[in-house]
Amino acid sequence: MPTLTPFAAIGAALAEEMRHDPTVLVFGEGVATKRHELVDEFGPARVRNTPLAEGIIAGTAAGAAATGLRPVIDLLFAPFLCYAMDELVNSAGKLRFISGGQFAFPMVTLAMTGGGWGVGAQHNHNNEAWFVHSPGLKVLMPSSAGDFKGLLKSAIRDDNPVLFFIDLALLHQPGEVPEGEHIVRLGMANVLRQGTDVTLVSYGKTVHACLAAAAQLADAGISAEVIDLRSLKPLDGAAIVASVHKTGRLVVVHEAARMAGVGAEIAAQVAEHAFASLRAPIIRLGGPDAPAAASHPLEQAFAPDVPAIFAAALSLCH
């Protein structure tokens, strides 16, 4: 299988979908500069730089989506979504319902999250749970190059507003991407490793920490199942519940803060729907309830690491 970085996988997905559908266009601050090969192929009308104004970028996308185009917008870093919340939440997320179904919003918003660039809390903030908590939106956050491509293609074809979060730490890590038309359906978790003693649920870069922890747990005689959510909304609750029915134990892992995060939702679903199978407390591992520091060691210590996941799983099994 060919190898691509997620950055290149995103570029490939954009190019394929723009070829496939002339209504797809992409814009944002510097998109046309950073993806100039798209300008070369599709021209400046379909690949646009914008003024520095996240609100109108997102609003323009919503207005265009409702009237025949399929915009993909790049809002750069997740904290900058703060300037576009009205357009994403109040317009794209609600106007279909408010209008009684008169409009649909086929649009994709790209944003980077997480540590890895050492630039502090106004660039590094995992706020994906806000959008999971908001009606009418879909939320994706892949962990592998293949899923970056396959999920983005699905997102572009979806008729709903999709937030597509890019874990910065993964962006330039090459990974395998199936050749040809590679589509990953939205809303399906991916069981990356089968296990019987404990379920590790995660998304984004901490999926890889879970896989590493699972390998160490195997050495310690513990069989861990690893689930990569990929899609945070719709959330594949059934896959998680099925796994916990089997293992009876659950550790949820993400870089985002725990309070009212995606991990809380998963724990709550399991505590409701797999209670009878649960043999131990549910552990959530997440970043501290604090802004992310720029200083390298603090930044790196923010997300749960392999030893923490290993220890949590071990504590449940003993």
Binding site: P51, G59, G63, T67, R96, I98, S99, G100, F103
Partner: protein, 320 residues
């Protein structure tokens, strides 16, 4: 336009303004009676809305906001389905999910109505981009208030429309009020139109209480947008005669200012002009008013007889 066609037009315009007024008065009465939820009425601004909409083509699109009755009715929306929407009935244009504040009627080109102040400004650029990129001919009209002009999105919208050369007719209904705050407290300039110039956007201010003046200014402005493919900002200088949201005792309103504007009521002005000039015989005016009242009475009966949405509607229309 020769004076003959103007005469005909103005009677039609007067009828539309009367319809808007009667519609709003029905809502006010229903809301006093506890039968209709409160709303933001267009009373006093009928000319500003009707005049602009009369200048648009059938394939032009409109974005509006919480104070939309004049735009919707002038565009041909059925008062029965509008009242049904305001009353939360299943037969409303939005199945009762919107209520009064964000009524869209896609089949008439009234798109993406939003009650977030500034929402229309944030969405209009995308609608206009679709028109331009998909090669459609209609221009896009965006109605917003003087209050909306204070939101940051005003700046972002005008700047992008200018830089991307989008066919947008921005129409600011400067009605002097921003909910419970007078325009004077929120901006140093009197005219929102002044804010358009630095973007390289042409602009004009018109007497928003004179329906013919509004219509003519809008015809010219729309023509310029059509010809140039670029945005234009038209400001209607008008007044919100009733409160912000029904009921509202307007205790905070300066009575002198209020009285001065009531003396320039757009409907009375147009009616008087037509009668004085002999274009509208007094008995025809009375007949017109009766027709409009009957139309609204029928609409109200339709809305009141309409069913409420089924409980399951709470979760439909969320995703496409």
């Amino acid at each position: 336009m020769n004076s003959e066609s103007q005469a005909i037009d103005e009677i039609a315009l007067l009828e539309q303004m009367l319809l808007v007024r009667a519609y709003e008065e029905a809502i006010v009465a229903g809301s006093v009676a506890g039968k209709i939820p409160g709303s933001c009425t267009s009373v006093g601004q009928e000319a500003a809305g009707v005049g602009v909409v009369s200048a648009l083509h059938g394939d032009d699109l409109i974005l509006t906001n919480h104070r939309s009755a004049a735009h919707l009715l002038a565009r041909g929306a059925d008062p029965g389905r509008l009242l049904a929407e305001v009353m939360g009935r299943a037969t409303g244009y939005c199945k009762g999910k919107s209520g009064s504040l964000h009524i869209s009627v896609r089949e008439l080109g009234v798109m993406l109505t939003s009650t977030i102040v500034g929402g229309e400004l944030s969405l209009v650029t995308g609608v206009a981009l679709s028109q331009k990129m998909l090669g459609r001919t209609g221009i896009v009209t965006c109605f917003f208030g003087d209050g909306a002009a204070c939101e940051g999105i005003f700046h972002e919208s005008l700047n992008l429309a200018s830089v991307w050369e989008l066919p947008i007719l921005y129409v600011c209904e400067n009605n002097q009020w921003q909910a419970f705050v007078h325009r004077r407290e929120t901006m140093k300039t009197e005219h929102v139109a002044d804010w358009a110039a630095p973007y390289g956007i042409d602009h004009a201010t018109v007497d928003g209480n004179d329906v013919l003046a509004v219509r003519n200014a809008a015809l010219e402005a729309a023509e310029q947008v059509r010809r140039s493919g670029r945005p234009f900002l038209l400001e209607s200088w008008t007044y919100r005669s009733r409160g912000h949201f029904e009921p509202d005792d307007q205790a905070y309103v300066d009575p002198t200012e209020h009285a001065a504007w009531l003396a320039r009521d757009p409907i009375a002005l147009s009616r008087q002009r037509l009668i004085d000039s002999g274009r509208l015989p007094r008995e025809e005016a009375v007949a017109l008013e009766r027709r409009v009242r009957e139309c609204i009475a029928a609409a109200l009966a339709f809305a009141e007889a309409s069913p409420l949405p089924a409980p399951g509607e709470m979760t439909t229309d969320v995703y496409a």
